[in-house]
Amino acid sequence: MTHEERPTRPTRRTKAQAKKEKRQQVLERETERLMSGRYSRQRPRRVLAVVGLSFLGLLWVDAAVSWILAPSNTAMITNFVVLGILLVIGLPLAGQLVAVTRGMTFKDESELDEWELTGRSRAFTTAHRCTTIMMILVLLVTTAVDRDGEASQIPGAALFLILFALLITHFLLPLVVATWQIPDPPAEEDEFMDADTVDAR
């Protein structure tokens, strides 16, 4: 058997590529389903974006509760409840946001066309402005409160949760903004418009 005749074994790279393509096909199907149905109009998409934003807000509420109440059982319970809600409802919600935006905020640049790149750039610009303002606010608030050095008034748990909320907001806000900004998909009725259809008009 010559080298050319030998069957090629799938390498780790080709396996990963096949897996990625499969994931993209699933995402594409989900996008089609959502964008041709429930989220074909702007209002439901914006409601979805607001819900996504509320979930991000929940992280900040959790941090604030920890700041005020920690260390205490109430703070700990609130923390676990919020994290539980985020895992159970937040993850599927994030999946919907990704599907509605065709995953434009997560895909590699090479996988996006120029319209998607423009949309992504707009979303990142807006989200970046928002997170910059948030970081400035966090810096100002923590600096104003945390004046006593080692006798700091900010509990360690709250500080961790603030940083965690900041990280998640930084990571997911472009997705929320992209959902808010994405225009209505083109109408399906002229999707496969052919010459006969147009002549008849």
Binding site: M35, R102, E114, W115, A187, E191, M193, A195
Partner: protein, 90 residues
């Protein structure tokens, strides 16, 4: 042609930066679906829809590729002025 449909100078007028196109007409004439055109150009089929709706102005590269696909000069497909209606004298 700018990469985005948005005009950089918003105060310069509503139609500033807007590029009119005849993609739907050419596509209908040749019996090409959005998906076929999108596959040939390597873009998402909805991007073709946004182009047709005038919500997005293509880059020069994409405009030239669209023109090459339909085998017509780029100015046949894209114009800064609205295209005259078929049958009109102008």
């Amino acid at each position: 042609m700018p990469g985005g449909a948005r005009s950089a100078g918003g105060a310069q007028g509503k139609n500033e930066g807007h590029v009119h196109n005849r993609i739907p007409m050419l596509r209908a004439e040749r019996g090409v679906s959005r998906r076929d055109l999108a596959t040939a150009l390597g873009v998402h089929y909805q991007t073709i829809g946004y182009l047709e709706r005038g919500e997005y102005s293509p880059s020069l590269h994409l405009a030239l590729r669209i023109a090459a696909y339909f085998e017509v000069p780029v100015e046949v497909i894209f114009s800064l002025e609205p295209f005259p209606r078929i049958g009109s004298t102008s």
